[in-house]
């Protein structure tokens, strides 16, 4: 693996231009997977879990997803996170957002970093209309803010282009329509530190273009942007710095072109 040539000067002579927004200090994240988690799965699955139990330590497995990652992100940076599937990119994002507790190490942030995503708060049995309100409230918007933006969200999603679908339960939507509404709700709020986890790949071509524009807008308003993507082109288009994670370790950190070149060499093999 090639070593990047530059070394960092964290306290440069222009501190007013290099204001750190996220400091990640030797971060370790460990998932504990309860093999014996109850109430889910079929009886046979549970039985075979019990039979296989000898191999695990009391049915609990530890997955060390992020191992000792350190970096400093500055205001105005757009940072891409790359790496193969399961390399810990999404986990790192969640840890930065303070949503996953660290096993060891710390993350310091300026303000409240937010993950662009609201899926978990929405309910399929409710109408699109109520989901817009519920999702907005879950993201911390006030009722007035939601009322103000409601029409904007619905128009952006394009749900009502083919009839009055917003007053139908979300379970009746096609997967594309649901994805569009979810993105529209999530993108309605402005953030200090914004994190986007492969959110670009939803909807049809027209909607993709619209959402890319919206992300660019959000980036302008946000101090620092993190983007997880497997699409090297969208990383190249949007990011000026790239972190490359592999097996939970930070393999490389540097300007986009340099890191992507190495990454492409690595994946091309």
């Amino acid at each position: 693996m090639a070593e990047p040539t530059q070394t960092q000067q964290p306290h440069g002579d222009r501190p007013e231009e290099r204001i750190p927004t996220v400091i990640c200090d030797d971060l370790h994240i460990v998932y504990r997977v309860n093999g014996a988690r109850t109430g889910r799965g079929s009886a046979t699955a549970a039985l075979s879990r019990i039979l296989r139990r000898g191999s695990d330590e009391r049915g609990v497995r530890r997955v060390h997803a992020v191992r000792g990652v350190s970096f400093v992100a500055y205001r105005g940076e757009a940072i891409g996170l790359i790496g193969s599937n399961g390399s810990g990119k999404s986990t790192l994002l969640r840890a930065i957002a303070g949503l996953l507790p660290a096993e060891k190490g710390r993350v310091y942030t300026d303000g409240q970093p937010s993950l662009l995503g609201v899926n978990a708060a929405l309910m399929n049995d409710l109408t699109g209309e109520r989901n817009v309100i519920l999702g907005g409230l879950a993201m911390g918007m006030s009722r007035e803010e939601i009322k103000e933006r409601y029409q904007e969200i619905v128009d952006f999603s394009g749900i009502n282009e083919k009839g009055d679908f917003i007053s139908l339960p979300m379970r009746t939507y096609s997967s594309g329509m649901a994805a569009r509404l979810r993105f529209s709700i999530a993108a309605a709020k402005n953030h200090d530190v914004l994190m986007i986890d492969e959110a670009l790949a939803t909807g049809d071509r027209k909607f993709q273009k619209r959402s890319e524009d919206r992300i660019r807008e959000l980036r302008k308003e946000a101090g620092t942007v993190f983007l997880v993507s497997h699409n090297n082109k969208s990383i190249r288009d949007t990011c000026n710095r790239v972190l490359w994670l592999e097996r939970g370790e930070l393999r490389m950190d540097g300007p986009t072109d340099e890191v992507l070149k190495e990454y492409e060499k690595f994946t091309g093999k």
């Binding site: 990047p4 927004t21 340099e258």
Partner: protein, 309 residues
């Protein structure tokens, strides 16, 4: 921007230099950065929770509505379910077993239905509380909000459910000759106190259930035992007549029994104060305050750990 690009090239594939690691905390302090996901102090936590009150209410109402949204009769089930429950209990205990145990028929049926509804309120709040965090990990891992929002929201959902049941309860009480009077006003403080108690309990089991999801399997047995010991189907006062006074008092100060008996006292004409333990309102208030305050602090103490899994 381009300046940043060039300076931002950080070589960290090797172990970072030790002096940089030392400065991480200092660097953070210098620019006023705070630890991500750290637990806020209690007053700040309460303030943030208050800021999320609309979310808490909307989430509880959404859960309540989603429950019956696939049914043909829709929200009618909110009332029909408790009505059917009451009918089943009437059939078993009133018609088949004739188990009025020292009470007249007109007192026993509303007595029984009140007991079932009021206990169900506590029971389902606890059951929802156990899964409040462990069953909503997706939400906890995706969005930022004080985690206490979830158990409180679930307790609130159960309160709204109970309000629907109260419609049925009023009908039953009137049907058996207990007409609305000034004592019915006591229902409001009883509900408030019981809601506080249930919320506190939900907060406690939410933290326990987040650490040990197995608790969700164990809880129904604990709750059923509690139900039979609380005098849902029988009057503790009549059942233990002739037994030592302290035993009766001990069973009567059980919070579930306190709230049930207060509700019956408020609703049913033939259910007098001789069925209530002394200082019953102080006990009801005490349980509510202790459970809510204790549960809240206990839940808050683990705030930064929810979501690990």
């Amino acid at each position: 921007m381009s300046e940043t690009t060039h300076d931002g090239g950080v070589a960290l594939s090797a172990a970072p230099p030790s002096d940089e690691r030392l400065t991480a905390a200092q660097l953070a302090a210098k620019y006023g950065l705070s630890v991500s996901g750290a637990r806020p102090p209690l007053p700040e936590y309460v303030r943030r929770l208050w800021g999320r009150r609309h979310f808490i209410l909307a989430f509880s109402q959404a859960k309540l509505t989603a429950q019956y949204s696939q049914a043909k009769l829709g929200q009618l089930w909110q009332v029909a379910t408790p009505l059917l429950n009451a009918a089943v209990y009437y059939f078993i205990f009133g018609v088949i077993l004739r188990a009025s145990r020292g009470m007249s028929h007109d007192v026993y049926i509303p007595f029984l239905v009140t007991g079932v509804f009021v206990f169900t309120f506590t029971q389902s709040s606890v059951m929802a509380g156990v899964r409040a965090i462990s069953g909503n990990l997706g939400l906890v891992r995706a969005l930022h909000f004080p985690r206490a929002s979830l158990p409180i929201s679930f307790a609130l959902q159960q309160l709204q459910q109970l309000l629907f049941s109260m419609i049925v309860l009023f009908a039953v009480a009137i049907g058996f000759g207990s007409y609305p009077g000034p004592s019915w006003l006591l229902i409001v403080p009883v509900l408030v106190l019981q809601f506080l108690f249930n919320t506190g309990l939900a907060l406690v089991v939410a933290r326990m259930g987040a650490q040990t999801p197995d608790l969700a399997q164990l809880m129904p047995f604990v709750l059923r035992t509690w139900m039979y010991a609380s005098g849902v189907m029988f009057s503790i006062h009549h059942m233990l007549a002739g037994r030592p006074e302290w035993l009766q008092r001990a069973l009567q100060v059980n919070p579930a029994a306190v709230y049930m008996d207060l509700m019956r006292f408020a609703l049913i004409d033939g259910y007098g104060s001789e069925n209530l333990p002394p200082h019953v309102w102080a006990i009801a208030l005490g349980w509510a305050v202790v459970a809510f305050a204790g549960g809240f602090v206990y839940f808050w103490k683990a705030e930064e750990r929810y979501g690990r899994g």
